[in-house]
């Protein structure tokens, strides 16, 4: 699973990121990389079986605390 993920991310880096990196727009490069690393770390954690806190219960508790539910 992690192998597939890493492979996919690697492919994305190779095919998608390199032309963007060559574009020499530093803002885009940093934005791209930060989103990329964020999502990669999340998938790897999930791949290792870590239970990440989902935003769904959080939203749910906010709404219930507002007292509509």
């Amino acid at each position: 699973m992690i192998l597939i993920m890493t492979l996919v991310y690697g492919l994305f880096l190779l095919l998608d990121f390199i032309p963007i990196y060559r574009g020499k727009n530093r803002k885009i490069t940093w934005l791209y990389l930060s989103l990329f690393i964020l999502s990669y770390s999340m998938t790897v954690l999930i791949g290792f079986g870590v239970n990440l806190p989902s935003p769904a219960p959080l939203i749910k508790s906010i709404i219930t605390s507002l007292g509509i539910f």
Binding site: F12, L31, Y40, A56, I63
Partner: protein
């Protein structure tokens, strides 16, 4: 980069596919039991003024998407914060659709395939499509629309032969309250989700009418929803219907035409795949476009891939299980209020006020 355009017809087709996208298999809420079809009609009527309001926002600033509008109306800082809200909504919607996708496929047949793989394929297709430009999405949608329409009409006609009209009675047994309750659910999912289109319809060809797109999209999409709901209730009946996660799929699986032609449910899955792909692509486009606007970069295309990957990452753990996904629908109707009603109202009022003020200002200058 030359300006991209979509035609009115392409916009309309996108909207219809967007509306029926995930609802087609998940089905509309069954809060109103056998009167759900009344809820659908009520929801369409409820959604009409809201959608006209969205169309108004598009119409007020031709050629500018919702993020530009927000930026213009509220200034830089507030505009960015509000834009971020919308980006989150589009992003989250994309996550939900992707998760829907993989849950559905792995439930009905791909039990062995990891969901991650399904989500990845969907997202890669979406990225590929939007990377081509919004025009590609438009052309693809128009092409797919005809196929989808033919399949849905065929399914509805076939469902008609299996309909048991006793399933529709007793009418309004539970009174009007559940009908209204269900209508609101249908309003928030999927009708008012078309708020996303305020970021898409800015690409309409000059001279195209955004009201027309919203109006017709609502009626055609709503009409298809109504037909599906009628078919589901007619074939399955209420109590059985509510035990199913994917009622349309089950409905169609019950239809036989002779002994040779049967098990058409694969067609439902195909339609869902096509519509869902459109929905995912639009959400991806909206998220990437909003992010690009927030960070003052012009090309949204470069952000598509990381946004899509992040979408998949979140889709992996947003719900612990399929049951949680279906429970979320009850939360969603409240969760969506700020994005679907409050923010658009705020934007609309401020935009109108701003335009009026600037107009009078212009006159005074003369």
């Amino acid at each position: 980069m030359p300006k991209e355009f979509i035609t009115e017809r392409q916009g309309l087709n996108m909207m219809v596919l967007f509306i029926i996208g995930s609802t087609l298999v998940v089905g509309v809420t069954d809060a109103a039991k056998q009167d759900s079809w009344l809820s659908v009609i009520l929801a369409i009527i409820m959604a009409l003024p809201m959608l006209m309001l969205y169309a108004r926002i598009v119409h007020l600033f031709p050629g500018q998407d919702i993020f530009m509008v927000i930026h213009r109306v509220f200034g830089r800082i507030v505009g960015k914060v509000l834009s971020l809200f919308f980006v989150w909504y589009a992003f989250h919607l994309g996550v939900l659709v992707i998760r829907n996708f993989s849950e559905f496929l792995s439930e009905i047949s791909l039990t062995e395939t990891p969901q991650y793989l399904i989500q990845l394929v969907v997202v890669i297709l979406g990225v590929w499509m939007v990377k081509g430009s919004i025009e590609v999405l438009g052309r693809w949608t128009s092409f797919v629309f005809n196929i989808v329409l033919v399949i849905i009409i065929g399914i509805c006609l076939m469902a008609f032969t299996e309909t048991n009209f006793a399933n529709f009675t007793p009418m309004l047994y539970g009174g009007f309250r559940p009908v209204i309750d269900g209508a609101y659910s249908i309003f928030s999912f999927p009708l008012a989700e078309t708020i996303i289109f305020t970021a898409v319809l800015s690409f309409l060809k000059p001279g195209a009418n955004s009201y027309k797109v919203y109006n017709r999209g609502l009626w055609i999409g709503g009409g298809i929803l109504l037909a599906i709901t009628l078919g589901n209730i007619g074939v399955l009946g209420y109590p059985f219907l509510s035990t199913q996660y994917y009622p349309s799929y089950i409905t169609v699986s019950l239809i036989d035409l002779g002994t040779f032609f049967r098990r058409f449910e694969i067609l439902v899955a195909v339609v869902f795949l096509l519509c869902g792909l459109v929905k995912v692509s639009i959400c991806l486009f909206c998220t990437a476009n909003g992010l690009a606007k927030i960070f003052n970069t012009h090309d949204y295309r470069v952000l598509l891939a990381p946004v899509a990957l992040l979408n998949v990452s979140l889709a992996l753990f947003i719900y612990p299980s399929m049951q949680a996904m279906f429970e979320w629908v009850n939360v969603y109707r409240y969760y969506a209020i700020p994005f679907q009603i409050l923010l658009p109202l705020l934007i609309w009022i401020c935009a109108e006020a701003k335009l009026r003020l600037s107009k009078t200002g212009a006159i005074e200058k003369d």
